[in-house]
């Protein structure tokens, strides 16, 4: 290793030799860097999970364009829409079909008295509204009033319950004083709002949520005719349905808007964004402490080198060498620990924590950049002093 670095640097790899000279300190320094990495990775993971959990229900919908209430920021809020808007949309050339979706939130009381929150979606079971094949297969069953599908990813529900349902033993729950029988499962995955999803027919939905009316769904899904450009069609629809109570968006637009809203306006999103900054700051402080202590401990040696005739750039080189080594070596255990923690959190919360390929590269580059910055600051003390003052 020393040989390789010597060849690479064109000089003795003093930083490497210094770091490996004191193994105990090297290990604790690497632990510090790894810890800072884990901090940032976890915050990025949570933020990523938030963004992903927002996208998942949209991705499930068989739609090109969404008609939402103008005051809706997410799928879960906003006023109901007049059903007339759906008819207006259907009358627009280029729209192949439309489906109304009803949304409501249900408290599901568990046998032990605790509550699970479910996002309830009401759809017309005669149409293909959701893409999932398990939903396709269960449309027939949903036509029977009072039946439902439950999200297999629902948090804090014993898996045995889902296994039983899938094995053909329907499970009846009480929903707003109505009996609803869960006949099968489908899969979405919980977000930061509700614990999971419940899928019912529009008829069943209106029985559970008696204040809601058939003439006022929450969402209208539109499918463009083959060969029709969704963006151009959206522009036409906006002219056609020029009502102040609705907003027409392509699905990607709606997803992006929802994600932007929840990451910048909702406390969770802001907290995770803030957490990333705090994690990076803690990381800088840890690495700066490590490097500054190292410079202070080697001040005599550096003064000697300075007396021999080495320039300031040489010392900066040593500290940057140390910074890069610490950044690289600390990153791997940090990444390993993170992957373990992601799996653990996913298992415990059902949140979709995943590691996209780009994230480790970004964090590694950031780690090395911050290490180098801390190193540059740590050598400032050396720059001004006369060698004789440092002995």
């Amino acid at each position: 290793m020393t040989q390789v670095l010597a060849r690479l640097l064109g000089r003795l790899p003093i930083g490497w030799l210094q770091l490996t000279h004191n193994r105990g300190r090297l290990v604790s320094a690497l632990a510090g860097v790894a810890f800072a990495n884990v901090l940032v990775f976890m915050q990025l993971g949570f933020l990523g999970a938030l963004i992903e959990s927002i996208r998942l229900p949209y991705a499930m919908m068989e739609a090109d364009i969404l008609v939402q209430a103008a005051d809706a920021n997410t799928l879960q809020d906003g006023s109901p829409l007049p059903r007339q808007r759906m008819l207006q949309a259907l009358a627009t050339p280029g729209v192949a079909s439309a489906s109304a979706v009803y949304y409501g939130r249900l408290d599901w009381k568990q046998p032990d008295g605790t509550i699970r929150t479910l996002d309830v979606l009401g759809i017309d079971p005669r149409e293909r509204v959701l893409r999932a094949p398990e939903v396709e297969a269960a449309r027939e069953a949903l036509m029977i009033s009072g039946t439902a599908l439950i999200d297999r990813g629902t948090r804090n529900v014993p898996p045995a319950l889902f296994d039983g349902i899938e094995a053909g033993m329907p499970y009846t729950i009480e929903a707003n004083n109505r009996r609803v029988t869960i006949v099968d499962t489908f899969r979405v995955g919980g977000g930061f709002g509700a614990d999971g999803y419940l899928l019912v027919s529009d008829q069943t939905f209106l029985k559970i949520f008696r204040s809601r009316q058939a003439g006022a769904p929450n969402l209208v899904l539109l499918r463009a005719a083959p060969g029709e450009d969704p963006a151009a069609l959206t522009a036409r629809l906006r002219e056609r349905i020029a009502a102040p109570d609705v907003a027409v968006r392509t699905v990607p637009e709606a997803v992006a808007r929802d994600q932007r809203f929840q990451t910048t306006q909702r406390p969770v999103g802001v907290v995770f964004g803030f957490g990333i900054v705090i994690g990076a700051l803690v990381g800088i402080i840890i690495v700066y402490q490590i490097l500054a202590t190292d410079v202070a401990d080697h001040l005599r040696e550096y003064a000697t080198f300075k007396a021999i005739g080495y320039r300031q750039g040489f010392f900066l080189g040593i500290v940057l060498e140390e910074a890069v080594i610490l950044g690289l070596l600390g990153f791997l255990p940090g990444l390993m620990a993170t992957l373990g923690l992601y799996a653990l959190v996913t298992q415990a919360t059902g949140l979709p924590l995943a590691m996209p390929l780009l994230r480790p590269l970004t964090v590694l580059a950031g780690t090395i950049a911050l290490c180098a910055l801390s190193g540059a600051v740590a050598t400032r003390r050396l720059a001004r002093a006369d060698p004789a003052e440092l002995f």
Partner: protein, 224 residues
């Protein structure tokens, strides 16, 4: 006669500011010719080390003129000072070796300051052998005795073929024989290559090897 290696005129130096100000050097005049081995004697606190660090570009000159290798150091830029340092060898009171580097690597540091040097490892090993450390090349300082460490420091100062060697009590940690080996080596370099040596010492055993002996007292040079 060629220009002196070192030429000092009216050199004053003080530490501290205002009321805490304490002057340690008073109007020094000094000339040392190229190739001379000069020993500087004096009680501790007489200003020997301060003079040495000023001549070695390790401290900024405050007042007076200091010319080293023809270069005025009073008001010299950092770049000039670095260029002069690279032509000097400095042997410190404490060995000041880098604890993470082996004997050979420490000596290499005296060579690498000049950039990439061909056969640098061999050159470092050769100088260490001259000082009787041929079998200790890859030892870390922690595994060397005080005298051995001091000899590594001597090797580091000499490996770059300096024009002037400054030595601050280089034989203090050495036994009688190796102390003499070091000083004879320095004198041999003076004869062969015209290397100038200015050495601070309390060691009376090596005075006979000096070309000239200077005495300092209370920041003044007594006899030349």
């Amino acid at each position: 006669m060629s220009a002196p290696a070192i030429s000092v005129r009216g050199l004053d130096h003080a530490f501290g500011q205002d009321e805490a100000r304490r002057q340690v050097l008073f109007g020094l005049d000094l000339d040392i010719a190229a190739g001379e081995l000069v020993v500087l004697l004096g009680a501790s606190g007489s200003g020997k080390t301060t003079l040495l660090t000023l001549l070695g570009c390790l401290r900024e000159v405050q007042a007076g003129s200091v010319r080293v290798l023809g270069q005025e150091l009073n008001g010299a830029t950092e770049a000039t000072r670095i260029a002069v340092r690279r032509r000097l060898g400095f042997i410190f009171q404490a060995h000041n070796l880098h604890e993470s580097l082996t004997a050979r690597q420490n000596v290499l540091m005296g060579l690498e300051v000049h950039g990439r040097v061909l056969r640098a490892a061999e050159a470092a090993a050769h100088v260490l052998s001259l000082l009787g450390l041929g079998d200790r090349l890859d030892y870390l300082p922690a595994k060397l005795s005080g005298g051995q460490k001091q000899r590594v420091a001597v090797a580091r100062a000499l490996v770059g073929n300096p024009d002037i060697v400054f030595a601050d009590e280089p034989t203090a940690a050495l036994d009688r024989d190796s102390g003499r080996v070091v000083v004879e080596l320095l004198r041999g370099l003076g004869r062969a290559r015209g290397t100038t040596t200015l050495m601070v010492t309390h060691d009376t055993r090596i005075l006979e090897l000096a070309d000239r002996i200077l005495r300092m007292e209370d920041g003044r040079i007594l006899a030349g």
